[in-house]
Amino acid sequence: MSMIRLEPRGQASPLWVYGAPLLAVALTLASGFVLFWAMGFNPVAALRAFFVEPLTSARGIGELVVKATPLTLCAVGLAVGFRANVWNIGAEGQLTLGAITGGGLALAFYGEGGWWLLPLMVLGGIAGGMAWAAIPAFLRTRFNASEILTSLMLTYVALLLLSYLVHGPYRDPDGFAFPESRLFEEAATLPVLVTGTRVHLGALFALAAVAGCWVLIARTFIGFQIRVIGLTPAAAGYAGFKEKKIIWLTLLLSGGLSGLAGLGEVAGPIGQIVPTVSPGYGFTAIIVAFLGRLHPLGIVLAALLMALSFIGGEAAQIGLGLPKAITGVFQGMLLFFLLGSDVLIRYRVRIGARKTVSQGATA
């Protein structure tokens, strides 16, 4: 590594705090260009189909919001945890649980629903996600077990649980043994906000969550404690901030928001419980959180961009026959480039070998 050297800056560069994500996006697009070219597609047409085409219709923009909704809900919660060094990577599982509990209420009260059903489902979804996140919180605070591994393991368990339920108790009795639940009745479906699109009430929940998390981090004393614990746990102990309390709080918050996201999917665009509730929103939300600089507003922008990569993937598959898996590659690349670009915030990159003492022989 002698050709490329890092030179510390005295202070963080405010330019690169915002410049790094832009650089990462640019590098991702450039790599995408090369990737499409290498796969034998016309890179310009492919990138256009991926990133521009979906935005040319009102319906496309509506779909963007529909997909950005669960991403934002999961990511704002995760970001609060990441700031405290609480690595909940099981949002996908908590989302699934929210769909199971909230959606389960819709099935339990099928045919008896009133105005009260939807609020009850929302609370049920939040509670399900929270309960699933409470397990890693308990195991971390009580037994010191890494929440990274436990929350991820529980994601597999949640997905299997969902599979069991749609093949068994949740299955539509009139559904010819298809692994799907009944379609939710009107009283159990989130209202559509903009006619002609599938944008539903969940989008407002997401915006409320963004505003709430912003106030939490930027203004409240709890938010201050979260930042101190994440940056310097020993200083938090010195100040008397309770790390266990913050672990519980951040996991319950992110679990609850993920559960809400899951409920929003089954009570929104899907309208029933199916074996695959999410195409990996809970995992993509990790990328969204980092790409958005763990900042609620940044997360909204990042969620829209990631939503575009989902829609673009589908559009490019239909239009050009591009493999859908390319979405995941784009998302992974973007996070890689972002993490790499972040070095510019605190370091200058210098190219060329360091000057050394000019005279004398090597010892």
């Binding site: 201050f224 008397g240 000057k355 000019s358 010892a363």
Partner: protein
């Protein structure tokens, strides 16, 4: 004329934002013990890192025994015959003594032969060591022996010692000096870095003084006074803190039969520690690092909650069960040993760091919301009241020098008008100017009626500050004695664990941790 062992000419080294070495020249003769003097930040560490190959100079030349050399890394330095004992030991806690030593040798023999050699060298120089022990079970003095033996095994012709005595008892210092003198008699050159000027007068025959990265003088320490060398180092005349007589009141802090147990295998448990600090006085607790200081500080601050509620009483109230916040509400203020990473968050601004401990006594939080305007004015009061050199309240804590950050932290605690202040290592690694200001502030606080507890490894500091001194050894605390009725030698014996000899109390076994 003899060929110098090492000759540095016009060495310069620049870091972003500072010129650490500026045209430094230094000549070391065979067999001499040469002192390198200077304040923190004067460039001593950078210079020795260049000699040992850890860093490269930007310009300048190095002659080793008359030959020009490039020392590209520590391996090259060791092959030349340069050994170094680091201030912060370069040891690995969970490895054995022999493994640690093998890591510092260029071509280590097989383990069994190495263990033989370690025994031979440690006997020859009176540095007893068991090669099979794990480092984390050794005392600080024993750890230093590992470092020294590691150097001696390669027959060094230049031995660099960076602040070697700051962690030793006065008696251990004497034994170390005997070893060093013997090495020097055998022809080994020793470059000795310290800010303890009396020790340098006792040991060294020549001294080079650095200030602000430049050589500002050279002298024969035997012909100088400590004061004259100190003034050469700081480039100004020194004023000792003024210390009016103490008028003490009731006990503000009472510690009774405090014992601790810990999950942490590297911790030292406290055993039946009892003492009190009265309003208006400063109690000093001396001891070599690792004898329970960290555990005592945590037990007092509330970072460790105690099983026995009554083991710690603040202003008469049992506080053992209370967390740091509730203890602060009783009037406790606290300055931890580590400035950056415990006392302050490196990445946060000074006004945010003011909230860190100030939120209890100052009106910085209302209805769950942080009042950033008030935090800012609190930080500005600290900065102006304690002459903290910083780019305003927005400066990140890590951008401050050690001395300025310590002034900020101590100022933050004192401005909360505590009735009890507990301080760990108040001036460790702090320049003389800041140290004098901190000492004066602590004395003023006590004379204003607060109780002050200072835990420090620096005996000179404790003798300047304290009204009474006690010693912590292996988790036990000695009786305290009035400072003017004791001597450095007596405290030194206690630091070595000779409680029996000094107090008639029970004998403490040596060498177990």
């Amino acid at each position: 004329m003899t060929v110098p062992r090492l000759e540095l000419s016009s060495i310069s080294k620049r870091f972003p934002g500072c010129l650490a070495n500026d045209d430094v020249s230094l000549t070391l003769l065979p067999g001499e013990i040469h002192a390198l003097l200077g304040e923190n930040g004067a460039g001593k560490s950078t210079l020795v890192k260049i000699i040992y190959g850890v860093q490269q100079a930007d310009s300048g030349t190095i002659l080793w025994e008359g030959q020009p050399v490039v020392i590209k890394d520590p391996h090259a330095a060791r092959r030349l015959g340069i050994g170094m004992v680091f201030q912060h030991f370069s040891l690995f806690d969970t490895l054995t003594v022999a493994e640690n030593i093998a890591l510092g040798l260029e071509r280590p023999p097989p383990m069994r032969d190495l263990e033989q050699k370690i025994r031979a060298v440690s006997e020859r120089y009176g540095l007893t060591l068991d090669p099979a022990r794990h480092i984390h079970t050794l005392s600080v003095g024993e750890r230093q022996r590992v470092e020294i033996v590691r150097c001696l095994l390669q027959d060094p012709r230049l031995l660099i010692m960076d602040e070697p005595t700051s962690v030793l008892t006065p008696q251990e210092v004497e034994r170390l000096f005997a070893t060093l003198r013997r090495l020097s008699d055998e022809g080994c050159t020793i470059l000795y870095i310290s800010h303890k000027l009396e020790e340098i007068r006792a040991l060294c025959t020549r001294a080079t003084v650095l200030r602000g990265g430049r050589v500002v003088g050279a002298c024969d320490p035997r012909r100088e006074s400590a004061r004259s060398m100190a003034e050469m180092m700081i480039g100004a005349t020194l004023t000792a803190p003024t210390r009016p007589a103490a008028e003490t009141g009731g006990a503000t802090l009472e510690v009774r039969h405090l014992s601790t147990t810990s999950d942490d295998p590297f911790a030292t448990n406290l055993k039946d520690v009892s003492f009190e600090v009265r309003a208006g006085e400063i109690l000093g607790i001396a001891g070599v690092a690792g004898n329970g200081q960290a555990e005592l500080l945590a037990a007092l601050s509330g970072e460790a909650i105690l099983a026995d509620d009554g083991a710690v009483r603040i202003r008469g109230q049992a506080a053992g069960h209370l967390d740091p916040r509730r203890r602060r509400a009783l009037g406790l203020a606290f300055v931890p040993e580590e400035r950056l990473g415990r006392g302050a968050v490196p990445e946060l601004s000074l006004s945010e760091n003011a909230i860190l401990s100030g939120y209890v006594a100052e009106p910085l939080v209302r209805r769950g919301l942080v009042h950033f305007g008030r935090a800012r004015s609190f930080a500005e009061r600290i900065i102006s009241g304690f002459n903290v050199v910083a780019h305003g309240h927005k400066a990140e804590a890590r951008s401050l020098s050690g001395g300025n950050l310590q002034k900020f932290i101590i100022g933050r605690e004192i401005l909360q008008k505590p009735s009890l202040l507990v301080v760990g290592q108040p001036t460790w690694g702090v320049d003389a100017g800041a140290a004098a200001a901190i000492h004066q502030a602590l004395i003023d606080l006590a004379r204003g009626g607060a109780a002050v507890l200072v835990i420090s490894q620096d005996l000179d500091e404790l003798f300047v500050l304290s009204d009474r001194i006690a010693v912590l050894f292996h988790g036990r605390l000695s009786e305290s004695r009035p400072t003017h009725h004791t001597t450095v030698e007596e405290i030194g014996l206690l630091m070595g664990g000779l409680f029996g000899a000094a107090t008639g109390a029970e004998e403490v076994p040596h060498g177990t941790a």
